[in-house]
Amino acid sequence: MMATSFTLASMTVGPVQFDMPVWLGLIPILWVMVILMSRRSLAGLGTITRWVAIFVRLVVVALIPAAMAEPQWRREAKDVAVTVIMDSSESVPTSKQKEAEDFIREALAHQDRKEDRLGVITSAKSAFVQALPSKLTRGVERQHLGPLDGTDLAAGVRLGLAVKPQDAANRMLLITDGNQTSGSVLQAAETAKAMGVPIDVLPLKYKYSEEVIVDRLVTPASAREGETLNLRVVLQAVQPAKGRLTILMNGEAVDLDPDSEGLGARVDLKQGINVLSVPVKALSTGPQRFEADFEPDVRDGRMVGDAVVQNNKSLAVTFVSGEGKVLVITEDAAEAQHFLDAMSAAKIKCDVVPADQVPTSLTDLNAFDAVVLFNESAYGFTQKFQEDLRQYVHDTGGGLLMVGGPNAFGAGGWIGSPLEDALPVKLDPPQKRQMPRGALALVMHSVEAPDGTFLGKKVCEAAVNSLSRLDLAGIVEYGWGGGTEWVHKLAPVGDGTAIKRSIQNLMFGDMPDFTPSLELAYEGLSKADAGQRHVIMISDGDPAVPNTSLLDKYVDKKITISTVGVYPHSGADTSRMAYISKYTGGRHYHVNTAKGLANIPQIFIKEAQTVRRSLIWEGQPFLPQVLLGGEALRGMTSVPAITGYVVTAEREGLAQMTLKGKEGDPILAQWQYGLGKAVAYTSDATTRWNTQWVSWASYRQFWEQHMRWVMRPGGSANVRVSTENRGDQTVITVEALDAAGERLNFATFKGRLALPDGRGLDVDLKQVGPGRYQGVVQSDQPGSYVVSLRYAAPDSTQQDGVIEGSVQAAVTRPYADEYRTLEDNTSLLSQVAELTGGRVLTGIAMNEDLWTREGLKMPVALRAFWLWVAIAAISLFLLDVGVRRVRIDIPAMWAAVVGGFTRQEARKAEHVGSLKAAREQARAKMVQRASGLQPEQAVAQAREAVRKAERLSGVKFEASAEQLKRANVNIAIGGAEARVAPTNPPPLPKDAAAQPGEGMGRLLKAKQKAREEMGEEEGEKQ
């Protein structure tokens, strides 16, 4: 039975849907009109012909409104796709996750329709698609690559909606404990509901009956050297528990109970909140890192009173103020000796370390009031350290001094680094400088390591970023669309936009052979107008090796190749790539660890530096020009000559150039960057370029003044900072006293909060009481935050005096909220199911049909076909005309087909001849009868005769016959040739002559003409 449905918007009849059904209302009206009109206009046709014509007309007038009603062909989907969103976060006990996997496996075993599909998404802090909905998916396995210390179920639901197939009905299955740390799954469920996707839920139920949480470790945010700090450890116990508490200070355990063995102390925890106090003396300055760690008792290999270990630890940091010190980073302490002697003479304490021993966190970096980079290359530092250092200056008010040398500034690969923003000079030389430039070709092969493509793009960007805008860079790769090609032709880097676009489009094809790529790179580089030409090739090493003749060409042109073997398949691959590098004078890097992988960008920066040697100016000694206004240069009107420096450009804005070199190049510049200050000295501080400087009388004064200018100010006020975490926010409270111990009022604070992810936030403090200031900041990420405050207040002891200084404090979010949950949140999941029309599953797979059609509306694919309906209407209309106007003589047509062209001509003539004979016969009869008939009767009979003639001839060819007559055509009849002489040929009408053979109009005119002619003849006879 044909299904029919009708709404105001659409109407469905069987498999056809009309989007504008109102037009269908015209059909009965048109049908009535057609029938009424046809009674008169088709009266002359035979009965069958007339009914056929009426039927065709009815169909035509039905099709036209049908086409206007926008008909669409409906194809309804049959499959159901279920996307499982699996909570992979660490709040879900592992045993529960295993249960969920078993549930899905069992549900698949009981699947009724094998064509139904299963998709898998894992969700923790972020969501990943593990398997797109497919009939081949056989289960869920936890393969979540992202961090697990958070739950964003909403992200999982949104991702599920994004990947749902359009040709199947969709359900989702949310398998989770319902505890989310970010996002709102209810909001996402609203979206699912709007899209008609029910969400079934399978709650993973649990409740920890025994659990201890180290809720927080409270320490003062700041303190003075030698002060005793009172640490408070807050523990939460579900049941009474016993264990050992350990406090670590800067990684070393504090002896809490000298009378007992071991460094910790045994604690008996009562049910609920427990607060323990531990006094600790601050013996050193800088950030002091504390850690409280609770270890439950273990019996028979099982923890007693505790279930989750991730929440047994808490961290806190206290900043202990004291005499300021400076961190000097240099690879060669002997090279920096003159500088260090100057610092020592100035009584500025320095810690000297090489690049691989720098502090690993922003908090640790804040133990220093300034950092000096002494002829250091960018590749010696991780990207994170470079970002930390930038943040150290901008957001925590630390000082930065970059001292030049062949490895510093642009020549050291700092172009494009995070630190470039902090420097008071531009590292890219000005365009006006005519300098030799470098050319770098990157040859990229597929990197099969996890995230290989992402990593490949990062290294390309790192390499390109470290080039100057004048350098040439290009990328060669093997694309699957047709072999090796320049995906970015060798061209000046410029602002980097074009090449970065190319990098984003890289596909990292699986190159079978190194040769074509290296040939292409050679071709480009050998023609490049550049001083240094270099290739960096990244590969897993299995493409076929290039031949020696190609490598010889590289050597001839002094083009070097460095190779980076990423997880090479074997030692042979490594040795082949190393061979290529050695042969051409490049370097080889072997990367087969995750740590090595993370350092690849640094390798590329180092390699890119090969083409940046041209940024060094060396020549005859000259005197840099001293520019006025430099606060750190006070008292100095001239400086000794130098013989070299790294070319940089003046930075517009607030940066101040104080020493100028050749062609206006900066030698010394300074500026305030955020809360901190930075100084750049582009020459060196040794005898390489500064032979006369080290013996200069003002050498110590020069460096001391610059160092003191750049260092973070200590201040004379007694300012204490305390912080308190409240939910996602932290309240920062400052108690300020002046040197006399009086409360410091009307102070202004300029503060920044350095976040764990590298970003910074302004801290706005308002006075809330005498000498008391307070502000609130957002702190929802786990990790360490550094609060840096610069203050200025009126000094009540002096007229117009100002008290200035700075202070740091730390905020710690030791672990994510993920580990604070003690039981599932099934009620939230029930809400999700109810909202979307889903089900709350029991977890017994045999009883549940995951792919149930219940509550689903099967999607329908619509295909418009109004055009075909319209074409059918037009075709039938022509047929209608044909039925009435043209009779098809099938025997004649058949004879024409069989007889060929000649016979066809003969038959045509025969038809025309028979027509003519019929007409002549009709005329003769008319004339004969006219003599004895009334004129009206004669006319009627004449018309009847014409109709008969038409029927006899089979085809109405009046007009053609007339033309034939007038044209005096030879017509073959019965094989003989006869000439048809026109009798009183009338003149051709002008319009007929102008429009020969114009279809229906021409036929009608010809017919009318014939009738007029006959009328005239009758008139003459009368």
Binding site: R138, W480, H569, G571
Partner: protein, 326 residues
């Protein structure tokens, strides 16, 4: 016909790189090192196993061999990045749901890293020459690349049971790395034996040519008009299968197409395919095989197998119910 899609479930692929047929089934190995037996009519995996080692790299070839006179089928896998040849009994394969855990029933393994006799750098394909009575293996040809590109020939050790060979003895090898017109290879990727003519047909991928050799390693002819997209030219021919009438079909990894050659005339008989993701288009095809009345192209870049019907019997396979390109 198309089957396969990206994924790690049975029947799904993660960059499949070799294919061969066994009756109404096909065998495929992908970059998860899974050896899958698949029913092309349903697209579903019916069993298989995972290679024992895969961290260094995954196999790039597979040869399914059944003695012409009948007997047990063997799955021969050149374990490319572990420098060895592994021979499996398919009856010991795991169920689809145990694909990742199953290690198959290994009955023989030989080879080690090196350039000596019986050693390999990167073996890519194996071809089997049956004994004259068709009961067992007479010779095993192993193709390799890696700078020491050659074909090594092994014979079953004396005392073995025909049709159940497990021990092999190195006999000789031929070919060297290079691009010259002698017996030189640059990444030979797949190989077939024409039993009627006793010829060895080899795709020399990075030299973009096909080679014809006698079974003793003498060069008969090189076929191919160099690298290019023209008819008769090739771009990295990786896959190879012999068709009837002295025709060979190659899958061009770089050309994203398949091409049929007349081996005697050395001329191309036509090309099919273009780069793309739609049906009928190919992305980096690694292999090709004959299956029933179709040609199956391993469309690696699209993680699928596409089957094309055999027009006018052109593709009728010549006496080869198994074996295929690697």
């Amino acid at each position: 016909m198309t089957f396969g899609e990206v994924g790690d479930s049975p029947g799904q692929f993660s960059y499949p790189r070799c294919i061969d047929t066994q009756g109404r089934f096909v065998w495929v190995i992908d970059k998860l090192a899974r050896v899958q037996k698949i029913d092309p009519s349903t697209g579903r995996c019916v069993g298989g196993w995972r290679m024992p080692d895969w961290q260094n790299g995954k196999p790039t070839g597979i040869t399914v061999w059944t003695p012409p006179a009948g007997g047990a089928t063997r799955i021969i896998v050149p374990d490319t990045h572990y420098h060895r040849v592994m021979i499996y009994d398919p009856d010991g394969m795991g169920a689809p749901d145990d694909l990742m855990e199953s290690r198959g029933r290994l009955i023989a393994s030989f080879g080690s890293y090196g350039e000596g006799e019986g050693q390999f750098i990167y073996p890519t394909d194996v071809a089997v020459l049956p004994t004259p009575d068709g009961a067992g293996m007479k010779r095993l040809y192993v193709l390799e690349y890696g700078g020491h590109d050659r074909i090594s020939v092994f014979e079953p050790a004396a005392g073995g049971t025909p049709g159940d060979e497990t021990r092999f003895v190195y006999r000789f090898s031929f070919g060297k790395f290079g691009s010259g017109l002698g017996v030189e290879f640059n990444r030979p990727q797949s190989m077939e034996i024409d039993p009627q003519r006793n010829e060895l047909i080899v795709t020399d991928a990075c030299n973009h040519r096909l080679g014809r050799f006698t079974l003793d390693g003498e060069l008969i002819a090189w076929i191919g008009g160099g690298i290019g997209k023209g008819v008769g030219q090739m771009q990295y021919p990786y896959g190879l299968v012999l068709l009837g009438g002295r025709r060979a079909m190659v899958a061009e990894f770089g050309g994203n197409r398949v091409q049929v050659f007349d081996l005697d005339a050395g001329k191309s008989l036509g090309v099919y395919g273009q780069a793309g993701r739609s049906e009928g288009q190919l992305a980096s095809p690694w292999g090709v095989a004959v299956w029933e009345k179709s040609v199956l192209v391993l469309d690696s870049g699209n993680n699928r197998v596409q089957g094309f019907s055999k027009p006018g019997g052109m593709w009728s396979a010549a006496g080869r119910g198994s074996g295929g390109p690697g």
